[in-house]
Each structure stands twice: as structure tokens, then as C-alpha cells.
């Protein structure tokens, strides 16, 4: 038995060493790098448990990337473009008059179907700011400070008029469930830059008004392996599901259990030679690391007061402000795709009151995030996206005070950061803010732009799925929005 013991302990130390070394192509190190999506696809498709047809999308990046990561500030519910960035004097002139039928005949309409359609003028004032005099509504005073850093897209168009499918469309490029979300595509293509956090992190803020639900489908890996799915971090309560040791289990005891599991798995592997075991050993090591790294990440006690103040963040309250600060921390640690949902933008009625709430919670932290990233020299390597799943009608809807219905034919978003021309606006809606008439931007072009900035040719990031060459940008013609690229 002595010999066997010796072999085992030697095997332990060897495996541990190869496991920890990052170079080479030893099974264990490959396994390590695969976990949580780091640098992985395609090397050993079957050992990775990829579904049939999942293939290497080619050497990535396809060309020089402008940014390393994406932070998507997702304003769920459909913020009104007509009370944020899209100023239309004609809308005020026609306020209260019947909506010209030429706009609405044969168009999909959500809650206003069958109702009398009247024009609703702007529900707040607009003013011009920044070097290029971009229009910003009074609801977004903090945006004035950052307007020279962003590129406002005023001609977004989507295809889905109800929240749930419209979110799915924004995130996956189709309304059919079961397709990978953009964060999953990107981590599948590029992996993560860090070893102890997932490559794709999602946070949904607490606070504000009664919100629309957001399904985990929105950060699902769809038909990609589940390790590419977004991992939800919770700013309040347990930061990641099951990341805390159970009651009564000390860190020391936990370490011993994990160590025993590793030894027994490796021992078994000598007999059965199953590459999955090596992957699994690494998964446990990573899980163990995450038990420390995640709580450290979420603990804002090392952030100085002035930073907390800049964001308006109270640690642990789960607010959008706290999440913006956490997004910066995630970005610093190398997380590839960070998506912050803030819900409550669905203003069918009482729009003014609800805009005060939503903007009050998001305006300042959004501005703070851009400024903070810039001060840390990270903005040029980050793409920040602001926007929701659709916009709102130029027509009046009155559930309570004046409001607006869902609108998909023209709305606004903005982009900021690496590779984006700052301080400009692009595209335009018609004089009532209904149809995108100048340079309309379908969602697939937004997707192509995001991928392009990350150094990915959207044609090439594809997998075989149900006979299709499935792509984030779909089958119709898509291209990056080149005029806004710097």
C-alpha cells in the first residue's frame, strides 16, 4: 500500500501544479481556463459537453478590438424618447389634436388599439448642452455633464411591441425563446478576463415603481452551454446563489471537504481517465475561490466616501446606484459583459411622476459611472450602452395622468466609450417622433456594432443550431453603425 500511497500523493501534487499553471495545453489547465468561460471555445468540443454542431468560430478577435468589455444599462419598460433625448417642436404644436392617421394606419399598437389617438406634447422642457448642443430633457440634469461623452442614437427600431418578447428581441435578436443572449454570445466568443468571476454578470436594481418582470431568459445561454449564461449577482442578500457556506460550516472545514473531494475525484480518474473529472476538479477550485471573491467584490466598504457620494450609493441597498458602482468593480476585475437592469420605465400614465422616480434613481449614477470609468482610464476600453426595449408613442395615453403607450418604430438609446464618436447624435425620427426616418437602426445593427467594437465580425460568430448558422444578428442583412465609430 505504501507504493500506492506514494503514487497518489505524487499524482495529487502533479495535478495540482498543472491545474494551477496557466500555460501549456495540459488537460487540467485547459479545464481551468474553460471554467466561467475564460478563453475556451472549440478546443475540445466534446469534452466540453458542447451540443452537436457547436464549432470554433475561428480565431478571435477577428480584428483589433476597440473595447474589452460592455456595460449595458438596460432601462426596462421602455423609456420615452420624447421625454429624454428626442425633442420635437411640432409635437408641442399639435398637442391635444388628433394624431394624423397617415402615421398610425396599419401600424401595430399595444394598449391604445381601438382607442382615439391624440398627440401628446412633450411632458417636460428640453435644452441644449455640450459642445454640439445636443438636446436633453429636464428629467436628466446629470446627463448634461456627460453629454460630450456619449453618442445618442435617435432612430432605433425594434420589432416587438410587448415587453417580454421585446426584451427577448433586444437581448437575443429574435422573439423566439431559447436563443443565446448577447452576453452569452460574447463570452462564448471572447471568454472572460478573470479567473474567479463569471464572464457575464447581471444585476437588477431594487427600488422605484411596480416593475415589469424580467425573466432569466434574458441572460440565458440558450442553445450554448450553460456556462455562458449570465450569472445573476444580487446586491442585497446572498450575492450569488449558493455562494455562502452553509450554517455551521467554517471556511477551514469547507477547505478540507473540497480538498477531499479533489483527492477522491483525481484518484478515481487514474482508473477511468475521464477528462470531465479534470474539468470538475477545476470547477470545484473555482467555486471555492468564488466563495471568497464574490463577497469581496460586493463589499463596498473599501470604496472612499467621495466615490459613494458621486454615485449616490448606499452599500447593500441593491439600488441602481450601488449596482453602477459594482459594475465598475466588475469591470476592473475583468468581467466581459455586465448588464444592469433598472425597471419601472413603463409609463402608460402619470408619466411625469414616474419619470421623476426613474430618472431620480438612475440619472446621477449613470453619469457617475461614465465619469468614474474615465477617471480610472477605463472608459476608452469599455462600451457603455443606455436604453430600453422600445420607446413610447407620440400619442396620449391616460392611465392616471398623461402617459404614453409602447412604441417600436423609432426611439432613442446612447452609446459611450471606446470606438464611439463622443458628443454626437445619429439618426432621426420624423417631426412627431413616430417613425425613424433618417438612418433607421434595427436592433441587429446595434448587435453588429457591439460585436464589431469587441473585435468580432458578426457574420462569423455563429453556431450550428437546428440546421441554421445561428448568429446574434440573424439572417437578414446587418452591419455595424459605421458613421458613429471613431
Amino acid at each position: 500500500m505504501h507504493t500506492a500511497d506514494h503514487n497518489n500523493s505524487q499524482a495529487d501534487s502533479v495535478n495540482r501544479r498543472t491545474f494551477l499553471s496557466n500555460g501549456g495545453i495540459s488537460l487540467a489547465s485547459v479545464a481551468l481556463s474553460q471554467l466561467l468561460c475564460r478563453d475556451l471555445y472549440g478546443r475540445e468540443p466534446n469534452a466540453l459537453g458542447l451540443p452537436s454542431g457547436l464549432a470554433n468560430p475561428g480565431a478571435l478577435p477577428h480584428f483589433t478590438a476597440k473595447v474589452k468589455r460592455v456595460i449595458f444599462l438596460y432601462m426596462a419598460g421602455g423609456p420615452s424618447h420624447l421625454e429624454t433625448f428626442d425633442f420635437k417642436p411640432e409635437l408641442n404644436r399639435l398637442d391635444g389634436q388628433p394624431m394624423p392617421a397617415s402615421y398610425t394606419a396599419g401600424q401595430p399598437i399595444a394598449q391604445l388599439q381601438g382607442k382615439e389617438l391624440r398627440v401628446q406634447g412633450h411632458l417636460t422642457k428640453f435644452s441644449q448642452h455640450g459642445e454640439n448642443g445636443l438636446w436633453i430633457s429636464d428629467f436628466l440634469p446629470e446627463h448634461r455633464k456627460i453629454i460630450d461623452k456619449v453618442c445618442v442614437l435617435k432612430s432605433m427600431v425594434t420589432e416587438q411591441i410587448n415587453h417580454d418578447p421585446a426584451h427577448t428581441f433586444m437581448n437575443t435578436g429574435t422573439a423566439i425563446s431559447g436563443r443565446p443572449s448577447m452576453g452569452s454570445w460574447i463570452t462564448y466568443g471572447l471568454g472572460s478576463e478573470c479567473d474567479d468571476l463569471p464572464g457575464f454578470v447581471v444585476m437588477t436594481s431594487i427600488g422605484g415603481r411596480n416593475p415589469q418582470p424580467i425573466a432569466t431568459r434574458q441572460w440565458s445561454a440558450g442553445c450554448l452551454p450553460s456556462r455562458f449564461q449570465g450569472v445573476e449577482f444580487n446586491a442585497a442578500g446572498e450575492p450569488v446563489h449558493y455562494v455562502k457556506n452553509p450554517a455551521g460550516v467554517s471556511s477551514l472545514m469547507r477547505a478540507q471537504v473540497v480538498d477531499t473531494i479533489r483527492k477522491l475525484d483525481q484518484h478515481r480518474n487514474q482508473l477511468v481517465e475521464d477528462p470531465e473529472i479534470a474539468t470538475r476538479v477545476a470547477a470545484y477550485e473555482m467555486a471555492f475561490k468564488m466563495q471568497t471573491s464574490v463577497p469581496q467584490l460586493m463589499d463596498l466598504s473599501d470604496e472612499p466616501d467621495h466615490v459613494l457620494k458621486m454615485y449616490g450609493a448606499t452599500p447593500g441597498d441593491g439600488s441602481f446606484a450601488a449596482n453602477c458602482l459594482l459594475a465598475r468593480r466588475l469591470a476592473e476585475r475583468g468581467v466581459r459583459f455586465i448588464q444592469l437592469y433598472h425597471r419601472g420605465w413603463d409609463h402608460h400614465g402619470d408619466l411625469v411622476k414616474h419619470m421623476h422616480t426613474c430618472c431620480g434613481l438612475t440619472d446621477r449614477p449613470t453619469a457617475a459611472l461614465l465619469q468614474d470609468l474615465e477617471q480610472r482610464g477605463m472608459l476608452h476600453e469599455t462600451l457603455v450602452i443606455w436604453g430600453g426595449e422600445f420607446g413610447r408613442t407620440p400619442m396620449f395615453q391616460g392611465k392616471g395622468g398623461p402617459g404614453r403607450d409602447h412604441h417600436i418604430k423609432g426611439f432613442s438609446m446612447w452609446l459611450a466609450g471606446g470606438g464611439i464618436q463622443p458628443g454626437i447624435s445619429y439618426g432621426a425620427t420624423d417631426e412627431l417622433g413616430y417613425n425613424a426616418v433618417e438612418n433607421p437602426i434595427p436592433i441587429r445593427n446595434l448587435h453588429a456594432t457591439i460585436l464589431h467594437l469587441l473585435g468580432i465580425d458578426h457574420h462569423k460568430l455563429a453556431i450550428k443550431f437546428q440546421g441554421l448558422n445561428l448568429r446574434l444578428t440573424g439572417v437578414e442583412h446587418a452591419e455595424p453603425i459605421r458613421p458613429i465609430l471613431s
Binding site: 500511497d5 471554467l35 466561467l36 466534446n46 466540453l48 459537453g49 451540443p51 454542431g53 401595430p108 399598437i109 399595444a110 415587453h163 417580454d164 418578447p165 422573439a175 423566439i176 431594487i206 411596480n210 416593475p211 418582470p213 424580467i214 432569466t216 431568459r217 442553445c223 450554448l224 452551454p225 450553460s226 456556462r227 450569472v231 442578500g237 446572498e238 450569488v240 446563489h241 449558493y242 452553509p246 450554517a247 455551521g248 460550516v249 477551514l252 472545514m253 478540507q256 471537504v257 473531494i261 477522491l264 475525484d265 484518484h267 477511468v272 481517465e273 475521464d274 470531465e276 474539468t279 470538475r280 470547477a283 467555486a287 468564488m290 403607450d405 457574420h459 437546428q466 440546421g467 441554421l468
Partner: protein
């Protein structure tokens, strides 16, 4: 810009078409000779045999069909490369293919052209270019006369002679083995050894029941000798756990879930349908009948209640009553969902692609799509747009109250007793009242279930580009895809309008419909259940872009056997599990690693991680907590607090099941589409929005965190510890107890290394908990099962820790 034929053959380029590197099986001498010479050489060399179905059609499909395939709208140059007559047609001064003469064939000219404007596929098309090897395969195929055959999945399965196999190492248990052994032998390999009994027992137990074997299973089989395994298979197939195991797979296909999926994701009433599926597999309901009942049970003459419950199938899709939904739009979404699911489940097809345009790769047209959709136009469902409520459960009429089989038996017993009493004197009034009360409470406990009720069919139009606002398309009558019609007219007979029953019959009729094709789709999936991968790897897609089967003759033969057996699922499973092929060891040898790393030859078994539900079941079985009760409503395991906080309309508080049903099997877990239980998600269970024919198997830190920290697994560890400690004799050494504990999880005793590691952990844990008794108390308080007070806290906590380590071993959840 595509194929303006003809073009001159390029002669001069040295870097052009003839740069054929590393060609398979054929030595090549260039790259620097000119094309003319190259072509002469190519023609002169013996070419490797190219199988159209296996090698050529998939290439043409992948690289050419998008522009030269079934989709009429996108077709370029009026050329279809998916049809033989189009390919061979005389096009004036050129032909696409001149059999035996690649040099005279435009296909070869164009795929090998050096001219960027001429080469196919065009460089800017986004389609990957053909590699040199692929080009030469097409060259060889044309040189061999361009033999053509129908796409394998559309050709009816044929009877094939059982191959001859020599040598003792290929000794066959049944005819399946001959089909497997033959190509192995040709490749110079041989079957792997038969797996040891313990591995085989465990494999069978997981594959057929989804549960690990018990200790007494193992002992009984070992006592019975060679017959033991076969009896064990019979016993597993006869157990109620069998139906539960098969249901796990079926529910993935049909996208069974407990919630509506869209927007508010409220609960809907459907769990009796799950019971129906479990019972159907346990009863061994002929699978053709199983098909008919789900699609059209309501249209059968005098349907039974179970046949009505079966039609819940048509209601499983995601639905929405979100404020502002346009019913017309959603009815369009629903009909598309149904066509996708029907074609995926029964046809292994992706007909959903034809919603906006003719299918790019398969001969399904947009007309086919909408005429399939029209079958479902009679389903009564639109009321939910009005009455759907933001409550749990919401309303999805029509629904009926359903009693389980057990309840119905009880009801019958009560009723006959009541009849008896009524005939007797009134001295038994009290007894009568009691029985009437029992009957009333039975009725009250009935569960609602969504069903299909046929109403006047809605008008279904062909929607140009799938646009539901466009009324310009023709009205579509229900019909099956044009190229698969067979004798559908005969099935419809003199009915005015084809209906779901006709559709279902066409799916399973081997003479007049596509029954044999359907059988082939399903037996491939049975094979996948028993080997971890199908004979065709693409269990979800048998179309042109799917993977052709590695053993087409065997797949044909299995399909024929399935139909001939009367669609007998248990027979098929018995047959395959009794093969030598099934019973091989899964441990790869050097030969496998070198010659067949992906195991396409099946010269060994496969090993893979268990599906999510079985991981839960395994831990619960080992703990002794598992409640083996068949059917019933869904249950809610422990779940992280606040996981449902983003759900709304209405807001939801998750309440874990508070009685012994907490410990039911994974397939009974409440399936919340938008927030599937994180344990199930971590182990790749699908959200059941769409058909899932094959789950991914990932291996992630999040899954590790579940096994390490999910209270269900901590509680299971405590259960295991309790079991072994209560069974231990006072004089038992720790090593004996560890052995029992270990066997509970992996069905084998630990070796000395494993034993010592676990002993070390036990000692460390004892030290920990004796110094920190409050930690022991905390650990033992996890989960709602009571702790046995006879056991000392510190000791139980230490053993719980050891059990927890064992419950985290790879082997515990690996099916070898």
C-alpha cells in the same frame, strides 16, 4: 452575380483550384502544377468512395442550399442543388453535373475556380469556403458518376441484411451487435469488454429508472448469476420509476412547465398531463396511440378522461395575457410555436424555419408551414386574452377537474359501498354520511388541467414574411407537407376538412403516412437515452443540416422493429439493453483514443453526467428521504430567498413544500419557466420554452456551488449519516460505517486510499465539531427533516460532513 454560366475553365493558376493539400486516402503530388495536369491526375488516380448521403449532401446543404436550395424566393440562377433533375438538366451549353466527368461539370468548375467573381460559395456570402479536402470529395463523387439518393431521413427505412461478423471478440448478443461490430471490425478495432456487474447494474438503473440501485438490488443480482441482470431489467421496466424516468425526457420534448412563460409567468394548471405521460410509459401504451391521444385525444370516438387529459399537449406552449397583447398577433405566435414543436418532437424537423420563407435547407415551403398551422386552428384558447388573470394560478380555459388514478379507484370503491348502503336499511345513515363526505372531499381535491376542445376553426392565412398584419396571403387548409403527403388523402377520407386526428394518424401510419420516419426519429432518441448520443448525433434535426447517422442500416432496422413490435417502447429498451453493444465498458482504451475519440463506432459505452433531476434523485435516494409516490401536483424544494423577487403580476413569495413531498423526485419540481429552480438550471435542465431533444452537459463552478451549499444536499448528507449511524453496531469500526456510506452513493466499496481520505476527513470534522458544538447544531438544523435525537450532535455533524463529501464526488453523478 451568382452563377452566370458558363465560364471558361481556368487553366493557368497555380495557386488556384488545384491546391489540394492533405487529401484523404489519396497521395497528391502538387501544389505547383497546372490545373489541366491536376485534373488528369485526379481522373487517373483511384478515388475514394464518397457516400452521397453521408458526405456530399451535407456539404451541398451547408454551403450551397441557402441560395441554390428549396427556398424559391432566394434561389439564384434557377438552380436547385437539392434536386437531382435540376442538377443534371441540360442548360444549353453547360450542365451543372456531367456524371463521371468532373471537368465538364460546372459544379466542379465553380467550386474550384481561382476567380473571386466566379468561385462558389462567393467569398462575401458569409458561407465558409469549401476546403481543399471538401472540394476533392465533390470531385471524386462526380467522377464516380454522382450517385444521388433521397435525403436519408426522408427515405423510408429499408430492411437490411444482418452483417456477417467473424471472430470471438465480436460475439453478438443480438442482431444489433452485428450492425455495430461490422464497422468496428473494418476499422481494425473490437468491442470493449463487458462492463463489470456493478457498473452495469448502476447503468441500467439510471437509464431505465433514473435512480441509483439499492444495496439489495446488487445482492439479489449477484445471487442470481447470469440471469440476474435480465431479471433486473424486467424489474426496472416494471417499476413505476420507469415511467417517471421516461417522462423526464418526454417533458423536455413537449416543453412541459407549470407556468405560462411570458410576462407575468403565472402558474397554469397542467400537472395531470404529467401524470398521463408517466402512466403511459408505465402502461407501455403503444407509442403510436400515445401520439394520437396527445395531439387529438378529444377527436377520438368517446374519449376517456385520460385521453382528454393527454390533449393538454396542445396547451403546453407559452402564453400571455399581458396588457396590450394583440390577440391576433399572439395567435400567430402560438400557431408557429405549435408547428415548431410538432415538427421537432415527431418529425425531427425544423419546419419553424418556413414561417417567413421557404426552408433554406429542407423541402418545407411556407405553404407547408401554414397548412400545418391550420390543423391547430380549432383549438379553443383565445378566451385567456380576456379572462387571464394576474393570479396564481391564472385562468387558461378550457380546463377540467381531474382525479388521479388512485383517487378514481377510491371514488369507485366509495360509490359502490354507497350503493350497497342505500339498498340496506336506514340504520346506517351515519355511515352513509361519512362516505358521502369522503366523496365530496375527493371531488374537492381534483386538480384542474388544461385540455383541448375543438371549436370552429379560425381562418389561417399564409403570412408573407411571417407578418401577422399582412392579410394578403391565401387562406390555408390543414394539410401535411407536400413532399411527405404519401396517402394523406386516404387518411382524411371523405372528411370535409383534415383535422388533428388525421395529422396524428399520418405521423404514425407506416403505410399511408410517415410512420416509419417518425419511428426512426424516436428510436434514435431511445438510443441516445441508452448511450448518451444518438446514432444520428443531431437528435433534434434530421434535416439536411443535421448529422447523418453513423449506422444508417441499424437505425432503419430499429425503426422497423419498433413499428413491427406495435410501437412497444419497453421492448425496444429491453432489446437494446440486452445487446453486447450496450453492455460494454465505457473506459476508453488506447485504440479508442487514437481511432475513435468521439466514439462514433460505439466500440465502447459512453459515460456522462446525470441529468439534473437524477442528481437530485440520487442524493435523495441515498439519504433515505426520497418519497416514492407517483404523480400528483408539483412540489417546491428549498430555494434561495428572493429568487422570485423579479417576478410580478402578481408578486410572489416562494414557499417551499412543508411536508414529506419536499423529498419527491426532480421531475415533480415546480417548473417556473422564467425562474427555473437554480439547482435544475445549474445542471442544464431546460426552461422548456421550446422543444429540447438533447440537453447540454456542462460542468461549471455554479453547479459545484449547488452541490456544496444547496440545503437539499446538506440535508441529504445528514440523512445518509443518520442512516449509517442508526444501522451501525456498537462495535463497528469507522471504516465499516464509511464503507456503507460510500456504497450508498456510488454502489461500490471504497478502496484503501479512498477509505483513508474519508477517515481523515471524519477525524478533522470530529475535531471541528467537538471544539465548536454550536456549529454542529447549526449544520444539523439545515432542512426540515427531524434529527434523530438518539444520535449525538457532534458525531452526526462529523458524519454529515463525510457524507456531504461523498455526495459531491464526480462518480456519484456519473453514469458509466
Amino acid at each position: 452575380m451568382y452563377l452566370p454560366f458558363p465560364l471558361p475553365i481556368y487553366i493557368s493558376s497555380s495557386a488556384g483550384p488545384c491546391v489540394l493539400k492533405q487529401l484523404p486516402n489519396r497521395p497528391r503530388l502538387w501544389p505547383c502544377c497546372c490545373l489541366a495536369v491536376a485534373l488528369c491526375l485526379l481522373a487517373a488516380l483511384p478515388s475514394s468512395a464518397q457516400d452521397f448521403s453521408q458526405d456530399i449532401r451535407p456539404l451541398l446543404s451547408d454551403r450551397c442550399f441557402a441560395c441554390h436550395g428549396p427556398d424559391a424566393d432566394r434561389r439564384e440562377s434557377d438552380l436547385r442543388l437539392d434536386q437531382e433533375d435540376s442538377v443534371l438538366a441540360d442548360r444549353g451549353d453547360y450542365r451543372i453535373i456531367v456524371p463521371h466527368q468532373p471537368q465538364a461539370s460546372q459544379l466542379w468548375t465553380r467550386i474550384s475556380s481561382a476567380d473571386e467573381d466566379s468561385i462558389m460559395p462567393p467569398p462575401n456570402s458569409g458561407v465558409p469556403p469549401l476546403t481543399a479536402v471538401e472540394q476533392s470529395m465533390i470531385f471524386d463523387w462526380i467522377a464516380q458518376g454522382a450517385p444521388w439518393s433521397t435525403h436519408w431521413a426522408y427515405a423510408m427505412p429499408q430492411e437490411h441484411a444482418i452483417p456477417d461478423v467473424d471472430g470471438t471478440n465480436h460475439q453478438a448478443e443480438n442482431w444489433i451487435d452485428a450492425f455495430i461490430a461490422n464497422p468496428i471490425q473494418k476499422s481494425g478495432g473490437e468491442f470493449s469488454d463487458v462492463a463489470d456487474d456493478m457498473t452495469l447494474i448502476r447503468r441500467l438503473s439510471f437509464d431505465l429508472t433514473g435512480l441509483p440501485p439499492t444495496r439489495s438490488d446488487v445482492l439479489t443480482i449477484q445471487e442470481q448469476g447470469p440471469l440476474g441482470i435480465q431479471r433486473f431489467v424486467d424489474r426496472l421496466l416494471a417499476s413505476t420509476a420507469f415511467g417517471e424516468r421516461m417522462a423526464v425526457y418526454w417533458l423536455d420534448l413537449v416543453r412541459y412547465a407549470d407556468t405560462v412563460g411570458y410576462h407575468g409567468d403565472q402558474d397554469h394548471n397542467i400537472s395531470p398531463y404529467r401524470d398521463y405521460v408517466i402512466n403511459a410509459f408505465n402502461d407501455n401504451l403503444p407509442w403510436d396511440q400515445f401520439t394520437v391521444e396527445q395531439l387529438a385525444g378529444d377527436l377520438l370516438p368517446e374519449p376517456t378522461q385520460e385521453q382528454i387529459v393527454a390533449t393538454g399537449y396542445n396547451r403546453l406552449l407559452q402564453t400571455s395575457h399581458e396588457g396590450g397583447v394583440q390577440p391576433r398577433e399572439y395567435l400567430t405566435i402560438y400557431q408557429a410555436d405549435r408547428v415548431r414543436n410538432l415538427s421537432a418532437v415527431w418529425m425531427g424537423a425544423t419546419v419553424g424555419c418556413a414561417q417567413c420563407h421557404d426552408h433554406k435547407y429542407d423541402p418545407y415551403t411556407a405553404e407547408d408551414f401554414y397548412s400545418l398551422a391550420a390543423f391547430f386552428a380549432d383549438i379553443d384558447e383565445a378566451r385567456h386574452f380576456d379572462v387571464g388573470s394576474d393570479s396564481v394560478p391564472t385562468k387558461r380555459p378550457p380546463e377540467i377537474p381531474v382525479l388521479s388514478r388512485g383517487q378514481r379507484q377510491l371514488q369507485a370503491t366509495y360509490e359502490s359501498r354507497l350503493q350497497q348502503l342505500l339498498q340496506e336499511s336506514d340504520s346506517v345513515t351515519e355511515q352513509r354520511q361519512k362516505i358521502e363526505a369522503s366523496l365530496a372531499s375527493l371531488d374537492a381535491s381534483a386538480r384542474l388541467s388544461m385540455i383541448t376542445v375543438a371549436i370552429e376553426p379560425r381562418e389561417v392565412r399564409l403570412l408573407p414574411r411571417g407578418n401577422w398584419l399582412d392579410d394578403s396571403g391565401p387562406i390555408m387548409a390543414p394539410s401535411v407537407p407536400q413532399f411527405l403527403q404519401y396517402d394523406f388523402d386516404d387518411i382524411v377520407g371523405d372528411a370535409d376538412r383534415a383535422n388533428r386526428l388525421h395529422l396524428a394518424r399520418w405521423l404514425v401510419d407506416p403505410q399511408r403516412g410517415i410512420g416509419l420516419l417518425t419511428a426512426r426519429v424516436f428510436v434514435n432518441r431511445l438510443w441516445m437515452i441508452l448511450f448518451g448520443q444518438g446514432l444520428s448525433r443531431s437528435a433534434e434535426d434530421f434535416g439536411g443540416q443535421g448529422q447523418p447517422p453513423s449506422h444508417p442500416e441499424l437505425l432503419d432496422q430499429l425503426a422497423l422493429e419498433f413499428v413491427r413490435s406495435g410501437w412497444d417502447v419497453k421492448h425496444m429498451l429491453r432489446l437494446i439493453t440486452s445487446s453486447r453493444t450496450y453492455r460494454q465498458s465505457s473506459i476508453p482504451k488506447q485504440w479508442h483514443q487514437e481511432h475513435d475519440p468521439e466514439n462514433r463506432l460505439f466500440a465502447r459505452q459512453n459515460r456522462f453526467r446525470l441529468p439534473a433531476e437524477m442528481i437530485r434523485d440520487t442524493a435523495l435516494a441515498a439519504s433515505g428521504l426520497l418519497l416514492q409516490r407517483t404523480g400528483g401536483p408539483s412540489i417546491k424544494p428549498y430555494q434561495p430567498a428572493g429568487y422570485y423577487r423579479h417576478l410580478n403580476f402578481p408578486k410572489r413569495e416562494y414557499q417551499a413544500t412543508q411536508n414529506e413531498e419536499q423529498w419527491r423526485r426532480g421531475l415533480y419540481v415546480h417548473w417556473q419557466r422564467q425562474f427555473l429552480h437554480p439547482m435544475l438550471r445549474a445542471f442544464d435542465a431546460p426552461m422548456r420554452e421550446e422543444c429540447t431533444a438533447q440537453r447540454a452537459r456542462s460542468n461549471t463552478p455554479l453547479a459545484a456551488l449547488v452541490l456544496l451549499n444547496d440545503p437539499s444536499f446538506i440535508e441529504a448528507a445528514r440523512g445518509m449519516a443518520t442512516r449509517v449511524l442508526l444501522a451501525a453496531q456498537p462495535r463497528d469500526k469507522d471504516s465499516v460505517t464509511i464503507q456503507r456510506l460510500f456504497e450508498m452513493a456510488v454502489s461500490r466499496p471504497p478502496d484503501s486510499y479512498e477509505l483513508r481520505q474519508l477517515q481523515d476527513l471524519l477525524m478533522a470534522a470530529r475535531g471541528e465539531f467537538s471544539v465548536h458544538p454550536q456549529r454542529a447544531e447549526e449544520l444539523l438544523s439545515i432542512g426540515m427533516s427531524t434529527t434523530d435525537r438518539e444520535l449525538e450532535d457532534c458525531e452526526l455533524a462529523a458524519w454529515t460532513t463525510v457524507a456531504h463529501a461523498v455526495l459531491n464526488l464526480n462518480e456519484t453523478y456519473t453514469r458509466n
